[in-house]
Symmetry: D2
Subunit: 148 residues, 4 copies
């Protein structure tokens, strides 16, 4: 994976740490590169949907973060990132020991950045693709309270 | 809103209650009609993203549930529901006192059902649209462990 | 339906008329209201996919136009409209005598506008929903060649 | 790229050839591999939107075909393919001399197959990414008139 400047890594780490919802899920930031981010989520009972799989909403949450923070690594200092829209295809039940969401920037623009993420379920060391997302991330400049 | 048979309401309530992730969020099932479901989520600190809004993933979670359970109200007994894909557009920051996700079936098919949901943020009794989702829900028949 | 200012109607008509692809398809602008647009497309052999239905791409084309021009009706003079993304769910084969795409603005923003469209197939005077789209439209200001 | 069995290539070629809309656009099938398909579209005036770019609907059409036929290469004989939904992000104006849509299967399932496509605009031999699609393709078995 590509390396990111220490200031960029620190920027993403700080923003991720401010997300209380990540602590609620138990997710952690596992990698920050230039235009790419990886988020890990241990599978746990409090994330379950009705059949015992991880809820699609939790899967979408870490994929959205992997996309949004991948986009943030390429945004100018002083700006913030918001997701304008995302679509996720759920390909297999999210089970196993942990989920890994790997996001990367597809095209960075001045206002809009397209990122995509793949989510893998990890079981006994083997990874299986369980979801794919594309997300449009928006660079927010000069709006109070929206800086990362 | 349209009424649902008591057995349908009970079916959705039981499935919703099995979702541990709903308790994690603090979401509750507020209405079950024929082809429509409403989910309420009090805004709370543990749901926050980095700017203090409710995380897009939490917004998506209740919208996905509103879609999926709306679809389930029209599915044959003995089947289960899984989301194949959804797309959500985030239109305004999810803030206020509570979020309301209203889902309804657009077209029910034998295998695939399209549902949509609108999410409103409620503040001082006024509702404001903050997100819209379309979701493809799949009727699962005869697969062990997937019944609702 | 809501009325649009004559200047707005003229603006949309002029932009639609510049789209050579509409003539290629045989589509026409049937209604322009404030925040809503209707496009009609007679079903014809040159639009067919392999089973004889209208190709999903042609269905998406008129839905995209219904969304984009609905958004344009609410954009400031001198700006232009481009579609940033759209998602379409194809619900039934696009057949019959004609297709009608009805688009409307869901939320108009300064930079991004969310619009949605429903596409109906018309047969013997009866309409049947065959597709639904949500589209993110972008207001383009000050970029040469992109004005509507 | 991976090779496909001659019977698979013939199957896709025959289905593509039955799509009258491809002739209307001027698109041709450029490559068929196992789980991947490439479609070429010369840029021409009859495809234009109001600013002179290729219409997003035409871009979506070849991307949809690249996805759908990539999916078809992996489907059992006697079945047909229909697109259930797709989402496309439009990243740059579709201009240049030609567009190339490259589709590939992300996950093939019994009923649903997820495919994705990238569309490039070609100018002076250089390719530039102008759109990305994800599409859910459905295997249709035993429905009259829907075989490929």
């Amino acid at each position: 994976m590509s390396a990111a400047e220490p200031a960029v890594v620190a920027r993403v780490e700080a923003s991720f740490a401010r997300q209380a919802f990540m602590a609620t899920l138990g997710a952690r930031l596992a990698h920050v590169g230039a235009g790419e981010v990886e988020v890990h989520l241990p599978v746990a009972a409090h994330l379950g949907q009705q059949h015992g799989f991880v809820h699609a909403g939790a899967v979408a949450t870490i994929a959205d973060n992997a996309c949004g923070f991948a986009a943030l690594t390429l945004m100018p200092p002083g700006t913030g990132v918001l997701t304008a829209e995302f679509k996720i295809n759920l390909l297999a039940p999210a089970t196993g020991e942990a989920l890994i969401a790997r996001g990367r920037v597809v095209k960075a623009g001045r206002t809009l950045t397209l990122a995509m993420a793949e989510v893998f379920s990890v079981s006994g060391g083997a990874e299986k693709l369980c979801a794919m997302m594309t997300a449009t991330c928006m660079t927010i400049a000069g709006r109070e309270g929206i800086a990362d």
